[in-house]
């Protein structure tokens, strides 16, 4: 879209004298075209089988998988997490509600404890 850029450049030059003394004119390094992805990325994505967008129960399962992955990455190898581990991993929400999640009072929670806590909240 070279024409596009020429129009912009001409327009910017026209306004330059007004602002040049204080700040240089802003720059456009590329054309406005979002949403857009580079051709190679597009070709790679298009070559793969289409995945039906998850909705309903499938979306819930995807959400659970996301939360489980995040939890597991911060937990000990045995799958338990202390308040300190939550805090150190930046999981402030779990750290702040740790006592409510740790209903058994063990000082360490499992993902299932966290999931039970979330499910006990009013539905979204």
């Amino acid at each position: 879209m070279r024409i596009d850029r020429l129009i912009l450049a001409a327009a910017l030059l026209a306004v330059l004298p007004v602002v040049a003394q204080q700040m240089p004119a802003p720059t456009f390094e590329t054309d406005m075209k979002d949403p857009w992805v580079p051709p190679a990325t597009r070709a790679k994505a298009a070559a793969k089988p289409l995945v039906a967008p998850a909705a309903g129960a499938a979306l819930d399962a995807q959400v659970e998988a996301k939360l489980r992955k995040r939890f597991s990455e911060a937990a000990s190898r045995d799958g338990t997490m202390t308040r300190e581990q939550a805090r150190a991993a930046g999981l402030g929400a779990i750290a702040a509600r740790f006592d409510s999640i740790d209903r058994a009072g063990r000082g360490a929670i499992r993902f299932e404890d966290y999931l039970s806590y979330l499910r006990a909240q009013p539905a979204r």
Partner: protein, 514 residues
């Protein structure tokens, strides 16, 4: 107007220095202590949007000015804060110096005063469009869609500013505006779906800490790619324990795998057809063409046709090459205003084809299909008039506005950087991001979180019906969608900005009532 500038906080610099010397992974030297500037604040740092650009260190210096605005007959005193703030890692190491402009109501209690973070998309776009086009205290009066004035279009007081309902923070992504990575990171360290959202999270947390806004009700407002950024960011903030009251998705591209403007080779384009109908009606090509007043009911009919009839036919066509039934071809031609032969040749017309062929010799806008110019351009070089006709006004007014707010720099503000060319779109195991699960995850972690999508009927970039279908995947009464006359940036249309302000005020009221 009283103008003064100040060092944001010597304490903040000392804090950074302490963090760095603590060996927490930060290799940057302590930020220098800069004497408080007086009068206009000239930021001597030269900012770069290059992929490998990196600031050796960054100070959190701002220019602070005081102003008044009248909204709904009430005079409001507010403070504008312009400058940089450093997003810190979990180990308190500086990662990126974010450029932002904050408008905060004077004398409000932080615990109850909402704060909203605004950002555009691209990726690679500065937040200049939302900042000077939507709900800040000043806006550029473009006169969209006719734009009959002489550019640069004027910067005027914004009677629809959201400053009466929330403090407003407009923040530029890394490698845009004057935002830049801090060593050892480079700008491109944050040029990916996940890294970008994570550093935005760290900015929001830093802003809340420095400004004592930890308890303030928080909102996000992202446009276009800022929509998926919002979904991922909301999930990350909720996990971090920063709870949001609401998120506004302005013309979002939530799922790149559902937008045929991105993947037209393999995807159905049927969710674009109502938008074609809106554009076709605007110019009288649709049969019948709906007036603006008739548009909602016309769009409802078009949606029903597309979802129940045309979409199954296009799926069959994509699978087997079987053309849709003749009556459906006629119907889609009537709705869109693009003649039957075009649809017989290819029943899955993409938006670029539509805007180039609706009326040969005329070129229609991508962002706003209501904007048109004579098409004198070679094939594949057609610009988007709805973008090119306003860009220079936004760039010039931005410089003037920042100068008026006491901030100047020898650097050039990057309106649109090259990040999109090398952006890592990979997310959650897919080559292109589907961020609906991120939004759903945020809502699972915080069931009170409210979501409002705002779209333009005449947007042929992120069509309103695509967003409706994306959000229909999330079963929740906390998700709402509102559509308006106008393009991608619905707020540029005067009547729609007024309607949006009314809807946003109700949305904020409802979110805050939780």
């Amino acid at each position: 107007m009283e103008i003064f500038a100040r060092l944001r906080a010597l304490a903040a610099a000392a804090f950074l220095a302490a963090a760095c010397s603590g060996g927490g992974g930060g290799s940057s030297p302590p930020p220098p202590t800069t004497p408080p500037p007086t009068g206009l604040f000239t930021d001597s740092v030269t900012y770069s949007s290059a992929a490998n650009a990196s600031l050796p260190t960054a100070a959190e210096i701002t220019s602070v000015t005081h102003h008044q605005i009248t909204i709904n007959g009430t005079v409001l005193n507010y403070t504008a804060t312009v400058g940089h703030m450093s997003a810190l890692s979990a180990s308190q190491a500086p990662q990126a110096s974010f450029f932002y402009v904050a408008y905060t109501l004077d004398g409000a209690a932080p615990a109850t005063r909402p704060v909203t973070f605004f950002y555009n998309g691209g990726p690679g776009s500065a937040t200049v469009w939302l900042h000077l086009g939507s709900f800040g205290p000043k806006r550029i009066d473009t006169g969209e869609p006719n734009m009959s004035g002489v550019p640069p279009y004027p910067l005027v007081d914004n009677a629809e500013s959201m400053l009466d309902i929330s403090d407003l923070v407009f923040v530029d992504a890394v490698g845009t505006g004057f935002s830049q990575a801090i060593a050892p990171f480079t700008n491109s360290s944050f040029w990916g779906v996940d890294a970008d959202a994570a550093v935005f999270r760290d900015f929001v947390m830093r802003y809340a800490t420095v400004n004592n806004r930890g308890t303030s009700p928080k909102f996000l407002y992202g446009e276009s790619y800022g929509g998926p950024r919002t979904a991922v960011l909301a999930d990350l903030l909720e996990a971090a324990g920063v709870h949001l009251k609401g998120v506004v998705l302005q013309s979002p591209a939530l799922n790149y795998n559902s937008n045929c403007g991105i993947l037209d080779i393999v995807l159905s384009c049927t969710s674009y057809i109502p938008s074609y109908g809106a554009v076709g009606s605007w110019f009288g090509f649709s049969n019948p063409s709906a007036s603006v007043a008739q548009l909602p009911s016309f769009m409802a009919e078009a949606r029903t046709f597309v979802d129940t009839q045309y979409e199954p036919s296009i799926q069959a066509w994509l699978n087997s090459g079987a053309l849709p039934p003749d009556d459906q071809i006629t119907r889609v031609a009537n709705i869109s205003g693009l003649g039957r032969p075009h649809w017989v040749a290819n029943p899955n017309r993409n938006p670029e084809y539509y805007r180039l062929n609706l009326n040969p010799g005329t070129l229609y806008g991508r962002y706003d299909g209501r904007v048109s110019i004579p098409n004198t351009f070679p094939p594949n070089q057609a610009p988007d008039p709805s973008s090119t006709l306003i860009s220079a006004s936004f760039s010039q007014r931005l410089v003037q506005h920042l100068t008026a707010l006491g901030y100047t720099t020898p650097s050039s503000y990057t309106m649109l950087g090259n990040a999109i060319q090398v952006w890592n779109f990979h997310h959650d195991g897919r080559d292109l991001p589907d961020t609906v699960p991120d939004l759903a995850s945020a809502m699972t972690q915080n069931p009170q979180l409210k979501v409002l999508a705002v779209n333009g009927y005449h947007d042929t970039v992120t069509p309103f019906h695509t967003t409706e279908l994306d959000l229909a995947r999330v079963t929740s009464s906390n998700v709402g969608v509102r559509n308006y006359v106008g393009g991608h940036m619905t707020y540029l249309e005067n009547s729609s900005r007024r309607a949006m302000k009314t809807d946003l005020t109700a949305f904020y009221g409802s979110a805050l009532a939780n």
